[in-house]
Symmetry: D2
Subunit: 353 residues, 4 copies
């Protein structure tokens, strides 16, 4: 009953097997191997667009590298105040950009509101030397609240960005879960929606450690080989990243894994909704369930060995905030979550209600 993170599980069997297969023989290093080249090719196909691909081993590296291609040291990155880049990466974007400023924007349920972005663009006019210069917009899809921008919402935000001359980054740590939920193509949720550079995460969706920085306009990628190398993110035995990404994409394996994680979360959410006293501040959309639990249920679950994070009151309005004997928690499912895990969790919760 580990619902702490989609990083709690290991890797999918197929991906692990691909690693073993890729182990044989001798290859060139630093990403010039056939596995890495194949991964790039497959990503171009899946995204229906020419692109430059840079594989790395963490999402933080992918995000920070992506932002550094869009933002000069004196630039502003507009992002949601709860964004992973703002709150969970120990200043990696500031490090990789050599000192850019992340400007926190507000918006309900983890999503930047149009008004907040419009206001920010107005507050940072280009050319006003005393201020940092507007440079990029970073959108998380899915968000830190497990919610999704609709394709229309993405278009509206990126239209403002484009008009203001901002580059657009998408933190796609849960990109696969998002397209499964929105039932759209990878292209629709990325470059067709105005995204310039995507951090595509495989790790949370069944890989060991593999993320791709995807630059849809290869002209913008000229600096990235050097940026990646000097950040220590160019693996010498690059085949092991290439093999993960290739296996992840093959036969829609990535979508299958995400679909499973989403469905486990759906089942969990549905079960919880039926329990008296349990509240959902917003509907589940991907593989994360945010819910306010009565203290009794929380204690029973903890006692039974369930693992998940207390989420404080992040993302909640004042009216939604947990009451005296309530706790707001985040439950995350993954490719490795089983129906049994969910069933057992719900059973304990129901008994304690």
């Amino acid at each position: 009953m580990d619902f702490a993170s989609d990083n709690s599980g290991g890797a999918s069997r197929k991906i692990l097997e691909a690693l073993v297969t890729a182990n044989a023989g001798s290859t060139p290093g630093y990403g010039a191997d056939d596995y890495s080249l194949a991964a790039s090719r497959k990503l171009a196909e899946v995204f229906e667009h020419d692109c430059s691909v840079f594989l790395v081993s963490t999402g933080t590296a992918a995000n920070a590298l992506a932002l550094s291609t869009l933002t000069p040291p004196w630039g502003a990155v507009f992002c949601h105040e709860d964004a992973h880049i703002n709150d969970d990466e120990c200043g990696a974007p500031e490090f990789f950009t050599a000192g850019a400023k992340l400007v926190s924007l507000k918006g309900a349920q983890g999503k930047i509101s149009l008004a907040a972005l419009e206001d920010a663009v107005e507050r940072f006019p280009p050319g006003l030397v005393k201020q940092v210069q507007p440079a990029s917009l970073s959108l998380s899809q899915a968000t830190e609240c497990g919610t999704l921008y609709s394709l229309d919402e993405l278009q509206n935000l990126t239209a403002i960005a484009r008009h203001a001359g901002l580059g657009v980054h998408m933190d796609g740590a849960r990109f696969a879960n998002a397209i499964e939920s929105l039932n759209c193509t990878p292209a629709q949720m990325s470059w067709k929606a105005g995204v310039d550079v995507l951090s595509l995460g495989a790790t949370k969706d069944g890989a060991l450690a593999c993320e791709a920085v995807i630059v849809f306009d290869p002209a913008r990628a000229a600096e990235l080989p050097f940026r990646r190398k000097r950040a220590g993110h160019t693996l010498s035995k690059g085949r092991f990243l290439g093999a993960q990404m290739s296996a992840w994409l093959d036969d829609d394996h990535w979508r299958e894994l995400a679909r499973h994680a989403n469905s486990m979360a759906a089942r969990l959410a549905m079960g919880l909704t039926e329990i008296p006293g349990v509240r959902m501040p917003w509907p589940r959309q991907v593989n994360e369930v945010f819910t306010v639990l009565p203290g009794d249920i929380d204690r029973a679950l903890r006692a039974a060995g369930a693992r998940y994070y207390d989420w404080g009151a992040r993302g909640l309005t004042a009216m939604q905030a947990p009451g005296a004997d309530e706790v707001f928690v985040r439950l995350v499912t993954s490719f490795a979550t089983t129906q049994d895990d969910v069933g057992q969790f719900l059973k304990v919760a129901r008994s304690a209600a």
Copy 2:
């Protein structure tokens, strides 16, 4: 016949199996898992010393993180002019230290000479504000020439460093090959020899992608969790690094792999020495053979599909430099090199002589 790099091969079977074993079940993320904790414990045992351990996935990251703990932005790192940190990491040390200066020192066969270090220490007196401040000494063991400092040579260099208030870093990308060749303990070649922070490389010696930053005085390691995180080098599924390092250390697997690589290089060197026209500018010591080949032999080997790097004239004196129809090359063996690879290589070379 791939002698291009010790990164050309995959991973050892044992390490791959350990990865598969570690895949099962649910673990905490970010290095708090049992595999990573075990790796730290084993390193402390192997090195016979308390230490703080930080696992990362590349040697460049390990080196740059290590140097950043020893060197302020206005500091000087003394290193050999051909050191990997100076010549092959695209400025990673400068990036991680926020702008320190690498001061190139000379010395035959890739080894910093005592005189060069003494001179550097004199040229950079502490407190002279107009200059960068002397901060650290970085030693590569084995060096970029595949040579080794003797334990006495290490002691002499680190004594100067200590006297000058410098922290000492060792780039141990081929540490295992070095202790096998010197027939000494890990402790003797590290903290007992005056090393403060060691980059211990497993990747070149049979791992997929795993290096350890080992800080022998844990008080000096306080910044490293943050430095590693913001560099994007804290893997979320940390178990996969821990499992590699653990399996690498278990049952002296790391030494066995290095011994094999060294012995393949020894066999290669011995065979080459017997071929007329082939010259060795210095004796082989680890898993790298540097040799001047007559053009005929080089062409025959390339034609037969052998892979290795042309080394220009790096490390050679004017008298040793390759002549009109000669080429200076580097041949690297690894755990994956077979006696057949070596035999076939020598056979082609002999025929062409």
Copy 3:
């Protein structure tokens, strides 16, 4: 009628004369001259405390250097959202700290509220690796709204900071105006109030270009000679900074200049208050008057050649925001402002009312 900035005027006659006097003869460079040494000595006397002093030529340099001594690259600086360091220095703190994060705090009239600081301290627990680490608190005295923290308010804020292990910086660009208004000693408003490092501004108060970074615990100043040098802020003919600072301090010249600027602002504020339709969102405290003017008055003043900045709605509550034909403006006086300037301004305003 230039009320745009306290930088609009030149330098005081006494300071200019001191520069001419200091010009004679030959001196050592880089701050080892007698004028600079005297300035340090005088600052120690004026502040009744041992201190390390670093003279520079801009307030941005002073602030950024000060913050860099208190904040590691992965640190958080807590500051008011409208602070000069956050909004008007083009990312200088991020540059000098190598990427620290400025965390914006709220509070009425430019002053950080206790609750906001307490909340921030709670949101950034030390040791939580995924977040930047709490490192420093920066207080502006006077604030960007021309308001002042009382000595008690300073004590309360710095007590929280100290308890949380934060270093305390004060941006004292208008420090002289502040002590004149609070009628306290420099010591009371700095180290006695919990300030570790002070940026003391002379430029806005009658110097040409001179600011001091004052570190009250000299042990904390060890890095500053190097930080200042590599930022290009160590003047070779350092005597010219020393001479400015010395003359500014001599015979309470600095306080006299500030007193004049404050009294001109007081006169301006008093006059404006008596004009129908003019509103003051908060009382004037130093040499800045923030006021909502009816459109007619604003237009008449502009037409008469008055210079001042439109302040948008910064610092105002929704209820205070300027109405349809109103404008919120900032009026700044300085040592160079004359009674005539003020009289003429008020006359035009009255006529237009």
Copy 4:
């Protein structure tokens, strides 16, 4: 008898008077004043070329800002091993470029040799990801040895640079002395000689603290307003920089001051040459005399109160190195040096011979 530095003297009377004149009245801040605008205009005239001008208060700032416009964080700056940027600025270029690498080149008498530059260009092929990327060439005119590149030598070096795609920076801390000595126009020694960005120093030549970054292709200057601001080098009372630069240029004042300094050095060199036992390793060209003095003479001069730096053996060949009772020294003259200073110095030296 202060021959320690051209920073030992104060400022020229004309420049000081210009400062007093500029003090009157009210002006816009941050370089938008008439004095600064006039300075830019005059520089364009003097250099016979459109240019973007950025005034700052130190040579270190000018150099570091200039290099940061030409060199990415992963770039290499080729410079002489004794260049001021390499040896005397405490890592400022590394700081402003966010971590670029200064690659030291050799050459007699402080001048980069053609062969050394050709070799460097060959060692750093563009696109080789493991190395820093060739980005810029920095030439000091005059050099740290007080020597000059001829116009032909400049052309030959910048031709290699241009062919290799390098931007060219000139450190012109003693630019005025150089053009006086070469008897050429400012244009001939800058953009006509292939220089892209010039640090033009007025401080050593009679100003208080004033240097200009001159970018000859304004398109390359787009980032500089932000870089200067965030480095704290945009003076709020910018008129004081503008007034210095304007007065320095007016009526060829700058050339007159340099001519005087050069002629004092010429007289000094001539006098020293005639003293038995005194050696000149290379001919004087600007306002610096490098000479090997017998110990007796050195001691007599020190005893008489003369100030100058012991230069070790920097720039000397082994054969030129000072003998047992000799010392190699640098003597610098400036606009403030008098014939009496020189006469008295020579008299003491002659007596001691």
